[in-house]
Symmetry: C2
Subunit: 283 residues, 2 copies
């Protein structure tokens, strides 16, 4: 199959547009079946005219986020006149908000990238997660909003980073039978600790892959099932002593586990999930 | 002003929907002026009926991403019959792709969170950036796709993490006059190194804030302008010896700097930016 070509056009960085476009693409194609090109910081009609021209030549689809109404109207008309398929990703939401809030859009590109307090809190959280990764510094446990604990290869690091992007200060502590868990874990409120559990088979598979990618044989005790059982028993024991909630990460992507944690600590109005993050089907 | 309430409904995690909704909200309101509630993993009509009911009671706006057509049609009809404002965030893009690609949507929720090779490369990159943060281990420089160098407080850490989410292996190395930069920096191809420069005034401001947040007085040499000038001179000197590209991060959000780097290493077809990441206005 010939590669599909998609243009993403934005008057800001274009990451929102890219994310929506990729999510939609995942319903049709594998990543290898398309090329996506981002055209960021668009400010002039000429650039838009050029984008439509090239899209026409290449048979590309255009997805865009333009908060400036003149730019948007121009692109929509230009694409229509050249018969180029063109999707306004944020427009319907902006129009709905204008109606609903009875407010005018500010039409300022890049408002989500403002260097405001919010931005600095996010940066601080990312730095925090790096500094207190893998139990590096026990002070992290006391200062954190959330402390993730689990045996090696339970996605503690990427999960900490994902939650940091949501402005949470996350420390993570590895659980190893040979090492006593830090005393500070028992001094913080139970609900700040979250255990990450995983099935022995899954963990074995992940660790074998890990060893392979490091160029090591899989005979090492790291990926040995007896060793894994011992580690997980020790982990269960620590969790029982802590009495903290546990999430099974065996078949979850980091985003899914993060979502469960966000729901645990920030209970929405109308809670559709129980404490284990399981869906409550109301039907 | 009364707080606006927004529901984000999804048959997956709902992060795409949340990002678009927040980007649109930033054109109208500050973060403190609204509450956003996410209703993830929706699988039944009953949950949708409940969402519309609650949205009606609270005067909320609904934004949604539902890749299942039956769920989508149900929500659109239910919202219309109750006169609740409801925006289909991904639908127009999905329909456009069906037309353009002559393919049917798979209608599988959560395809962007699949635990595939792509996912594991991303996780690996995030772990890499944490491991080789702040020059911790000189081996990182040799293995990295990109090495960021800069004085303290030039956003090396968050930038490394942001690029890791794009599956790039990023190491970062601090530049300090008292310490010789690692020899390995001079052994890797020039284009793998990227210097982060910043104006002395801006850096002074950031460091003062940093000291304040650590509860320290700002008399320390860290935020002293003479000291800063010396550090930046030393940095300029290292950059000249390396002959590597430099980006001025003085007034840029991490996302913006990352975008410049992505464009530098992955030149699109149709390049609208020069090597400094400056916009080329064709008008």
């Amino acid at each position: 199959m010939e590669k599909k070509i998609i243009y993403v056009v934005s008057d800001s960085v274009g990451e929102t547009a890219e994310l929506v476009t990729k999510a939609a693409l995942s319903q049709f194609l594998d990543e290898t079946d398309y090329d996506l090109y981002r055209i960021p910081y668009v400010e002039s009609f000429e650039v838009l005219r050029g984008a439509v021209y090239h899209a026409k030549q290449l048979g590309a689809l255009i997805g865009f986020t333009l908060v400036n109404n003149e730019l948007r109207d121009f692109l929509v008309e230009e694409a229509a006149s050249k018969q180029v398929e063109c999707v306004d990703i944020m427009g319907p939401m902006l129009r709905a908000m204008e109606r609903k809030f009875s407010l005018k859009s500010k039409q300022e590109p890049g408002n989500i990238h403002k260097l405001d307090e919010d931005y600095f809190r996010r940066v601080e959280a990312i730095e925090f997660a790096v500094r207190y990764d893998d139990g590096r510094d026990p002070r992290g446990v006391m200062q954190a909003d959330i402390v993730l604990i689990g045996v090696s290869r339970t996605s503690k690091t990427p999960l900490s980073q994902y939650l940091a992007h949501k402005k949470l200060k996350v420390a993570n502590v590895p659980i190893v039978p040979e090492v006593d868990p830090p005393e500070s874990l028992f001094q913080i409120p139970t609900h700040k600790c979250i255990g990450l559990k995983i099935s022995p088979e899954k963990l074995n598979g992940i660790r074998r892959e890990r060893l392979k990618s490091l160029g090591l044989s899989d005979g090492a005790s790291y990926a040995n099932l007896d060793r894994i059982e011992a580690e997980l028993n020790f982990f269960d024991n620590v969790i029982q002593r802590l009495g903290c909630p546990v999430i099974d990460v065996s078949n979850k992507a980091v985003e899914e586990t993060a979502n469960i944690i966000l729901n645990m600590i920030n209970q929405p109005y109308w809670n559709l999930e129980n404490d284990n993050g399981e869906k409550i089907d109301e039907s």
